[in-house]
């Protein structure tokens, strides 16, 4: 087990003097093992990005623990050698006045000052080829001269230059065109086979389904259903998951409405009773399941 979240809760203080609080993430537990893609699916405000930010050490958790390889996750150079994040907007992830090679040089300065310049150059080129970029085409270019797909792949290449074990990918394909986003997804799938763990955060169900071994569906900060992707998508148990799936536009199928559930606690505030194990590794938070 590489990354483990144990009963993680995040409460934000809002309002002029922090008088009110919002619980963005409530009692979430899951883990990510090497060589696995876990997709975290939820609508806006479900807390999916907050979880990603907590894992990256950008926001501290209010309670609960996040451990990485048995040690508590905390921001710092040692941690970022192994855990890296990539975010939605590739155009604002880069400093616009630095060329691409400068971005890689900064990695060397902070993390690998011991590597000789020539060897580093070789490594940069190898990492770029790994992400299907032609080094001669992208090095020496400014961010605005590159396309969104190229920039997003540059960020992955940058992460690969470290001893990265876990990648937190937060909506990395949302801003890309249909023609290029599938390339980025295929790239993640390839890296997975080399033992990289990926937490793929998205609101697009079809993208999560394409890539992930396991799927976690979040609603208002709580896990409503999690399990092997095939089972969560193939036989969704929670009414919320069903509703989400029925709203996805599909090419050869008409929109259907999920069958209505008469009384359901999920309308109120998730289910508080914790998760039920419905099948091997398939957990669902539905209060109704216990009675029916």
């Amino acid at each position: 087990m590489m990354l483990r979240l144990d009963h993680v809760t995040k409460v934000f203080r809002i309002g002029a003097f922090g008088g009110r609080t919002v619980t963005a993430v409530a009692d979430v537990s899951f883990d990510v093992v090497p060589g696995e893609v876990v997709s975290l699916i939820g609508e806006s405000g479900s807390g999916k990005s907050t979880i990603g930010r907590m894992i990256l050490g950008l926001n501290p958790a209010t309670s609960g623990t996040i451990t990485f390889d048995g040690r508590p996750a905390r921001s710092g150079k040692e941690y970022y050698r192994h855990v890296q994040g990539i975010f939605q907007d590739p155009f604002s992830s880069f400093n616009p006045v630095f060329k691409a090679d400068r971005v890689f040089a900064m990695i060397k300065e902070s993390y690998r000052p011991d590597v000789p310049a020539r060897e580093w150059d070789e490594r940069v080129r190898a990492a770029l080829r790994d992400v299907r970029l032609n080094p001669d085409q992208v090095l020496g270019k400014y961010p605005h001269q590159l396309s969104g797909g190229q920039l997003q792949r540059l960020l992955i290449a940058r992460a690969l230059l470290l001893d990265i074990k876990l990648l937190v990918a937060d909506e990395i394909t949302s801003m890309l065109d249909a023609s290029t986003r599938i390339d980025v997804l295929n790239l993640l799938a390839e890296l997975k086979t080399r033992g990289l763990g990926v937490l793929y955060i998205t609101h697009d169900l079809s993208l999560g389904n394409y890539l992930a071994e396991r799927t976690i569906v979040l609603r208002k900060g709580t896990v409503v259903e999690m399990g092997p992707t095939g089972e969560v998508f193939g036989g969704p148990l929670h009414p919320y998951t069903r509703e989400l799936l029925s709203a996805v536009p599909r090419l050869h199928q008409e929109w259907t409405d999920a069958e209505a559930v008469e009384t359901c606690l999920y309308h109120e505030r998730g289910a508080s009773g914790g998760l039920l194990e419905a099948g091997p590794g398939h957990f669902v938070a539905c209060a109704r399941l216990t009675t029916c």
Partner: protein
């Protein structure tokens, strides 16, 4: 036919020369028809939408005509277009979320807007339309900041169609929404057409799957030109243009897994429109390209209502 666009050419003026964002677009739109307009970023789909309602300062009308309900739209004349905007042609902008005046409550804002166009506010009609898209009446007495993204989007939709325009341009209206809100907004748009609030609609998006659900006809654009236009079902099930085929093949759907079926993106990127290469603009990325593609393929009607611009189709 409610809308006729013929040989429309619109360029963007830049320091390095003219960018040919629309390069000879011709198409028609029938009464009650919803046209889905899809393509990659930079293919000119938003430009087309903008050209039909308001050209910004960088845009230049180079050639072509637009006829709406038998009257020519003076698209190059910003002043003259004022008579048509909102009443005949209306727009739901891409960032409808920030289109509402943050300093006014919705009711006041709508009233002011209508007065500026010389129309009176019919509150009963407004509320009826809000009911139709599922907005509670209280929304009228709230500030935009108090509404969620989906609510603002639907409010803007109600406002832009209040004067029953003939043509509605919906520019990427669902891109920033969650799937369940997206479905509600898309269905509301269909409802507007069915209730006759708008006669016809151009639905600009990059999501083919979503377009298929609401559009009657889908038009695929590539690099400022029409690639393919066909009834929605035909375009999705039997596309003829190689670009459309690749675009549909690159679409991950629920049920498609990497481990089972590997999808492929389209290699390369669209040509620069500053100085577009002669011939078919998709040639460099096309798996079928041959010698004849050095010449620009004409738009041909291969079946009734099915137009393709490709030598190989």
């Amino acid at each position: 036919m409610s809308l006729h666009v013929s040989e429309l050419e619109v360029h963007y003026r830049t320091l390095r020369g003219d960018v040919r964002a629309l390069d000879g677009m011709s198409f028609e739109l029938g009464d009650g028809e919803i046209l889905g307009l899809v393509g990659e970023s930079g293919c000119g789909k938003s430009t087309l939408g903008k050209a039909l309602i308001r050209m910004d300062g960088r845009m230049r009308h180079v050639g072509g005509r637009v006829v709406l309900d038998g009257r020519e739209l003076p698209i190059a004349d910003d002043r003259a277009m004022n008579d048509f905007r909102f009443k005949e042609v209306s727009l739901i902008p891409q960032y409808a979320m920030s289109a509402l005046n943050p300093t006014r409550k919705i009711r006041k804002m709508v009233g002011e807007l209508l007065r500026s166009r010389g129309a009176a506010l019919d509150v009963a009609e407004l509320e009826r339309r809000m009911d139709q898209v599922g907005l509670p009446r209280e929304v009228l007495d709230r500030y935009p900041i108090e509404l969620s993204g989906g609510m603002k989007q639907r409010m803007v939709m109600v406002i832009s169609t209040l004067l029953d325009p003939s043509l509605l341009i919906a520019d990427e209206v669902t891109s920033a929404l969650d799937v369940s809100t997206q479905k509600a907004v898309a269905r509301a748009l269909l409802g507007f057409r069915d209730s006759g609030y708008v006669k016809s609609m151009i639905f600009v998006t990059h999501d083919i799957a979503l377009t298929h659900h609401i559009a009657d006809t889908i038009m695929v654009m590539y690099a400022g030109r029409l690639a393919e236009k066909a009834p929605a079902d035909v375009l999705v099930k039997a596309p003829r243009h190689p670009y459309t085929r690749l675009l549909i093949d690159a679409l991950p759907e629920v049920g498609v897994r990497y481990a089972e079926r590997r999808l492929e993106g389209i290699a390369g990127s669209p040509p620069s429109l500053l100085d577009p290469p002669p011939g078919c603009r998709f040639r460099d990325r096309c798996p079928l390209a041959g010698d004849e593609c050095a010449e620009q393929p004409p738009v041909a009607e291969v079946a009734p209502g099915h137009y393709v611009a490709c030598w190989k189709a």
